[in-house]
């Protein structure tokens, strides 16, 4: 039994199967991007244990192929196991050991990046200051107690919860939130323009005058879903305060009162607040003469961190990101009219893993080939002598 387990995990066949499965998965995932978009395809094919069918929630789903996480995890275990089984403490094996160690670090780093890295964006107009970045894809329902004059208490409910849990009962809220409708992508129309059959999905706020129509998911790289939902507020002691429409496309501020406090609700890109702020001093966008082709674009920002008494100007441009408090700010883009810069903010605890892995693999290969080269030249010398 033990032997079978060991044989299975140390088998080269398993490596080949994993690599073949990875190739099939990459091929299928790449094709799926046409219909799903890059983000959704990544999640369904690569950031999952299994690829499921049917993809939409229809009450059941069947795993049809191993997902990226499963293939990566098995490959990692296989690599470690095979390496340990065949381990020999000898100088002539040093190159092999180093190469394998580098590959293990690279695979583990990839897995940890997938699991723990957070990518977000910070869009800043000239002179604007922000102390938060926003998720480019994920939304959140922010339920904010705005009663106090100096502080807001925010309960941020991610859109994944809105989809999966139709009723939300949280300790920070004196009421329950029931999601009556949820549209990952939608179009909003004024009722007067939506035709006779159109009905609002909300009865409070501006949503009572708006019809919401579902729309297919945005698949383009630069497209975004317009997420909308109808949420009903139910006090815990019974009754209903009404149903509100919350949407990414709805700019109107929506508030209601309950329990002697004022609450604001908004569906917005998920926010990541920081203990420091970034102010855009100047955005520079140079083009090649006579064309609209970008030559160079950079953002001069001021970083202010009261906790650490930091107040410094930083120039962020291509391949020169700002690294601060475990986050990296890359120059990612800009508004069409250069009115704002877009910085990509990446928090990746294992960002160093690929660099370390590459150095170790390179060193391993160098040692391995060097060892053989020396051996070969010695043999040749001996033969000539």
């Amino acid at each position: 039994m033990w032997r079978r387990v060991v044989d299975l995990f140390t088998s080269l066949k398993l490596t080949i199967i994993c690599l073949a499965a990875a190739m099939v998965l990459i091929f299928a995932g790449t094709l799926a991007q046409v219909h799903l978009g890059i983000h959704e395809a990544q999640q369904r094919y690569f950031q999952s244990l299994f690829v499921w069918w049917p993809p939409e929630s229809r009450g059941f789903k069947i795993p049809v192929f191993p997902g990226g996480h499963l293939i990566g995890a098995v490959l990692l275990v296989n690599l470690i196991a095979a390496h340990l089984k065949r381990f020999r403490l000898a100088w002539r094996k040093l190159g092999i050991h180093l190469t394998h160690a580098g590959l293990i670090i690279m695979l583990a780093g990839g897995l940890f990046t997938d699991l723990f890295a957070v990518e977000s964006h910070m869009q800043l107009a000239s002179g604007e200051t922000k102390n938060y970045s926003e998720n480019a894809r994920g939304m959140e329902l922010a339920v904010i107690d705005v009663t106090d004059s100096d502080l807001d208490q925010v309960t941020a409910i991610p859109d994944t919860v809105l989809r999966h849990d139709r009723a939300i009962d949280h300790w920070s809220l004196p009421f329950r939130i029931v999601v009556r409708n949820f549209y990952q992508n939608s179009r909003l129309k004024m009722l007067s323009e939506a035709g006779n059959g159109a009905r609002p999905i909300a009865n409070q706020g501006p949503g009572a005058m708006i019809a919401v129509q579902p729309a297919p998911r945005a698949t383009g790289v630069n497209e975004r879903d317009v997420t909308s939902a109808a949420i009903e507020i139910l006090p815990k002691d019974g009754g209903s305060l009404g149903t509100w429409l919350v949407s990414d496309a709805l700019g109107a501020r929506q508030t209601f009162s309950y329990g002697g406090r004022t609450w604001m609700i908004a569906l917005r890109p998920a926010r990541y607040y920081k203990p420091y702020s970034v102010t855009l001093q100047k955005f520079t966008h140079e083009r090649y003469a006579g064309t609209d082709i970008p030559k160079d674009f950079s953002s001069r920002v001021t970083l202010i961190d009261p906790e650490r008494s930091v107040n410094r100007d930083v120039l962020i441009y291509m391949n020169h990101p700002l690294r601060y408090r475990g986050e990296t700010f890359y120059q990612a883009g800009f508004q069409k009219d250069d009115s704002a810069t877009i910085l990509q903010v990446v928090h990746n605890p294992s960002f160093i893993a690929p660099y370390v892995a590459c150095v170790i693999v390179a060193a391993g290969l160098l040692v391995q080939f060097g060892y053989h080269l020396v051996g070969f030249s010695r043999k040749r010398k001996a033969a000539l002598a």
């Binding site: 033990w2 032997r3 387990v5 060991v6 244990l49 499963l70 995890a73 275990v77 470690i80 089984k85 065949r86 381990f87 020999r88 403490l89 897995l111 957070v118 107009a125 002179g127 604007e128 200051t129 102390n131 922010a142 705005v146 004059s149 100096d150 502080l151 807001d152 208490q153 925010v154 309960t155 941020a156 409910i157 991610p158 994944t160 919860v161 949280h170 920070s172 179009r187 501006p206 005058m209 708006i210 317009v226 949407s247 496309a249 700019g251 109107a252 501020r253 908004a266 607040y273 420091y276 702020s277 202010i304 009261p306 008494s309 107040n311 410094r312 069409k336 009219d337 009115s339 704002a340």
Partner: protein, 378 residues
């Protein structure tokens, strides 16, 4: 202990090896399967953010003798902006959706409805909106290429505004009240403004120049509101227990609303739109080393950094009423920076004047008078 007949040196470690292997696999699979942290409901407290809250900005981040905070009570609604409109535009009651609403009457009962609506940034797709309006006029949708041929661009302080002019009469519609839509879309980083005029085709044509002027005026007013609200944004608030300081503002200096990082700001104008920017900034603690700060200021005016010794030789002490300051005076190209700083009771204060060299030279005596006038309450 030899459980199986494997050759090699790891035989006696085999049970432990397999146990570790299985643990590793279990951890990897468990880590993959478990929910990510971004799927959890988070609860946190933040200081008032203008994007969410139009309550007054943090007063404790302002000096007591700061300029009158006109217009800093939050982001003004687009419709509340004072923008003049043609006399024949009759104001209509505003709704929760409409931030501006007017009715224009023409001859023979012709009318046109004009509105201003603010929606989220994601609502600003021009093609989708143009096709939605065409549908309202009973017309078939158009492609992006066709749209490009019929759009006009209007450059405003908040960015480029796209204007579309669409003609069509829906079935059974009254031609006195419908037949044309002239609309403008002004996308922004946080919201999109929709200007729309819909009504009788001839009347809409006649009102189009006034409509475009109105769009431009509202966008200009928006930019002014934005700059005021941005300046008032209380991000990274300074310590609420920060001591207050008082000063005497020199003649000719205009106090302007401070930004979130500044305790106070002043400006001085010279000839040919030349301006000097004067700032007061405070931080708890040291606020960085002298060399770091001086080199940062040098970088701002295009000078190369210096080492600690060279910087120490540049610093000139200056005694004032309640404290002593360290000062530097640096010129690079056309720009010049004069800065003074002091550290007292666990807090550092920076006073900086930056602008064209000749103008700085003119204001230098006033800057020193200003430093001498500063009184610390603690």
């Amino acid at each position: 202990m030899r459980l199986i007949g494997l050759e090699g040196k790891i035989d006696i470690f085999l049970p432990r090896f397999i146990f570790r292997l299985l643990c590793l696999a279990a951890i990897a699979i468990f880590a993959s399967a478990c929910d990510r942290s971004d799927q959890e409901i988070k609860v946190y407290r933040i200081s008032k953010a203008p994007l969410e809250e139009s309550a007054p900005a943090q007063q404790n981040a302002m000096p007591t003798n700061a300029a009158s905070p006109a217009g800093r009570a939050g982001v003004a609604r687009a419709g509340s902006t004072i923008v003049s409109t043609p006399p024949n535009w009759e104001p209509q009651p505003l709704s929760q959706m409409r931030q501006g609403s007017f009715l224009v009457r023409g001859e023979n009962g012709a009318v046109a409805d004009i509105s201003l609506v603010r929606l989220g940034a994601a609502a600003g797709n021009v093609l989708d909106n143009a096709n939605r309006w065409l549908e309202q006029l009973g017309q078939p949708p158009i492609t992006a290429e066709e749209l490009a041929e019929i759009t006009q661009r209007l450059t405003t302080p908040i960015g480029e505004v796209t204007i579309v002019d669409l003609v069509g009469l829906p079935k059974d519609a009254d031609p006195a009240k419908d037949g044309r839509i002239v609309a403008a879309i002004a996308p922004g980083s946080t919201s999109t403004l929709f200007f729309k005029m819909r009504g009788n085709a001839d009347l809409a044509e006649a009102q189009k120049p006034d409509f475009i002027k109105w769009v431009a005026a509202v966008c200009t007013a928006q930019a002014e509101n934005k700059s005021r609200s941005t300046a008032a944004m209380p991000v990274a608030p300074q310590d609420s227990s920060a001591p207050e300081i008082k000063w005497k503002t020199p003649e000719g200096w205009t106090e302007v609303p401070p930004s979130s990082m500044r305790y106070a700001s002043f400006t001085v104008s010279g000839r040919d739109d030349e301006k000097i920017d004067i700032s007061i900034v405070t931080f708890p603690g040291e606020g960085g080393s002298n060399a770091d700060n001086v080199n940062r200021w040098r970088q701002q005016i295009g000078l190369a950094p210096l080492d600690d010794k060279e910087i120490m030789s540049m610093i000139v002490p200056m005694n004032a009423r309640s404290t002593s300051f360290s000062t530097v005076d640096m010129a690079g190209g056309d720009s010049r920076v004069m800065a003074a700083w002091t550290r007292r009771t666990g807090r550092s204060w920076f006073f900086k004047m930056r602008g064209p060299g000749p103008l700085i030279e003119r204001e230098k005596p006033k800057f020193f008078d200003f430093l001498r006038s500063i009184q610390f309450n603690s």
